[in-house]
């Protein structure tokens, strides 16, 4: 939180100085009203506007990283704050008609703020488009922050179930087959034990990037649970799915992971279970997404079993 505020320190200090100047000027040149002259309804209304501007500013600086979009939005909100603040001061301080700057302070920042906001929103739109491109393989069409896994930034199993259900339904309608891969890291428990959870988490994150790079644009990567990832491959047949699974196994095998306390590269392998939604699994009663998940997990267990017996 502190680091988050620190990157906006310049803007915040500038805003504080402006607000203080505004207060000082108004109070020293204006004439304070007596209690009976104050209209409390106006105070409540205009005070509310000031309060909301402050809330917007707080939200903005607490979530946005520094950058042009943030600066524009911040400038816009700050102008709103100055304008509505002057409006509020008007209620408790009387200004003589010669002091025209009071009117200026009320009316000039507002349109400037509007213009800044408009530019801000436009560049936000462009920024979001760029981000969407990056996020494409992590989320397909639906954004729901409750389903994001904190460690890898991928969607979790609940999201996977949702997407898989929709995907299969649509694919069956169009007579396409949907494939699902279950990717499990071999011996991940030992990694956690040997290197600790911090490095274990880092391995998961780095593998996430590797897997994402090697998927097609329409595929979806999720973190199923623990060290198991799930990949939804829309409109993909068994042959293609097996091919992709082989490619993923290959790239992971060649990925040199370095623990935080050593320069020595460590190599890991993954086992992958492949399942395709087709005519083979069509048990009535159970939802097709669950059947496909079950099938992929079963195939994965089979692959793991074979590895164990080969090693032994």
């Amino acid at each position: 939180m502190n680091a988050q505020l620190k990157q906006h320190a310049g803007k915040l200090i500038l805003l504080a100085i402006i607000i203080h100047l505004q207060l000082l000027l108004s109070l020293s040149f204006g004439e304070t009203k007596s209690w009976s002259q104050i209209d409390w309804l106006d105070i409540a209304g205009e005070g509310g506007a000031v309060w909301l501007c402050l809330v917007w500013l707080a939200l903005l600086v607490s979530v946005r990283p520094n950058g042009p979009v943030t600066n524009l939005l911040f400038g816009g909100f700050a102008c709103f704050l100055v304008a509505s603040g002057q409006d509020l001061l008007d209620e408790v301080v009387r200004f003589t008609p010669e002091m025209a700057w009071n009117d200026w302070a009320e009316s000039i920042p507002m349109p400037i703020g509007m213009v800044l906001m408009t530019f801000g929103m436009m560049s936000w739109y462009r920024e979001q488009q760029a981000l969407n491109l990056q996020l494409q393989k992590r989320e397909r069409g639906l954004r729901d922050h409750r389903h994001i896994d904190r460690v890898t930034g991928l969607a979790n199993a609940q999201y996977l179930r949702k997407q898989l259900t929709e995907e299969i339904e649509q694919a069956r309608h169009e007579q396409l087959s949907t494939a699902l891969l279950m990717v499990d890291i071999d011996g991940f428990r030992q990694v956690n034990r040997r290197l600790g959870v911090v490095d274990g988490d880092r391995l998961l994150r780095e593998l996430t990037e590797i897997l994402l790079l090697n998927l097609r644009r329409r595929d979806l990567l999720c973190r199923y649970a623990g060290d198991r990832f799930a990949v939804v491959l829309p409109a993909t047949c068994q042959t293609m799915a097996t091919l992709i699974a082989g490619q993923l196994e290959g790239v992971v095998q060649h990925f040199a992971f370095r623990a935080s306390n050593s320069d020595q590269a460590q190599f890991h392998t993954v086992s992958i279970g492949v399942a395709v939604d087709g005519f083979k699994i069509a048990e009535p009663g159970q939802p097709p997404a669950e059947q496909l998940l079950e099938q992929a997990n079963y195939q994965l267990a089979k692959v793991k079993d074979q590895r164990v017996s080969v090693a032994a």
């Binding site: 896994d149 904190r150 460690v151 979790n156 199993a157 609940q158 499990d184 428990r189 030992q190 956690n192 034990r193 959870v197 911090v198 988490d201 199923y224 649970a225 623990g226 060290d227 198991r228 997990n297 079963y298 267990a301 079993d305 164990v308």
Partner: protein
Amino acid sequence: MIPGIGFESQHKFIPAHQQVLALAELAQNRGVHPDKLLRGTGIFYEDICSAQLLINPKQMLLVYKNAERLIEGKEVAFLYGQYLLPGHQALFSSAMMAASNTQDALTLLENFGQLALPLMQTRLRYDDRDCFVQFLPASGDDYQSRFLIETVVAALISVCRLLGGSTLGWRFLFAYPTPDYPEQYQVHLGDHITFDAHINGVFIPREHLSALWPRGATANFDMACSACQQALPPLAQQSLAQQVYQMLLVQIQQPPGLELVAQMLELSPASLKRKLKDWGCSYQQLLDAARRHMAIYYIRTQGMSSEQLAFKLNYHDKHNFKRSFKRWTGLTPAAYTSLSPA
């Protein structure tokens, strides 16, 4: 702690650094400050680091509750479990590391488990096919202890794999209904998992028990075990709730009444009631649990009928037994059998 009576929820005997430190580290790594994890317990993180602090079960359970609530992602119990065995208690872990097969590890856990897993009692039962490892939480409540159960099963499976055992044919039973993250159970424990089983435990095929582990050393194991024996006062290794449960279980045909149990523990019935209430349970609940566990065990291992079970548990007739079973599980014995095959 009064010798002869199981520990209460206020007794301070759990070494905080052995149990809480790993969880605090995990929490921190997941973006939760240790102070938040310890909120409401009156414990300070600095005191834990001093490795001297003893805490009571109530504080421990509150830490678990905080962890469950604050740390995102439902895998934290499973990750934390991996730290708990062989554990940080020197005698216990050296015995565990010298175990030469799964059987050794389980026996160690049954007898001295409190040294590494203070809030869970392990009980072994054998039939022709399997060994059933039953887990009973210190509170005596199977249904409200999900986090604790998750940590313990994760600990057991992780230590067996670490030491070279196979866990492929293990079949897990959980008392509570399916949580909204069944995939965590599947990935961390394996594919044979039954929820709504009204008992917590795992069936381990007998042929797995004696398969030799590469690092086993029988002499070292025996030595470390007898050292554990001396480290642990024999009667203080279970909670009062677990102790009463055990007293009822061994005489399940003619279970002693509340007054008699109190007398055997040299307590007044009122203070026994109060002490049990402190654990959140009652004499009747423990008696129900003992009978329920018995019935379920025999249904699953021997496929006993209601008549046989009514006889075994000393009910007047099978209708009375069926009514009780329905009260415990919400199902008739027949429905229970058909819903979840052993």
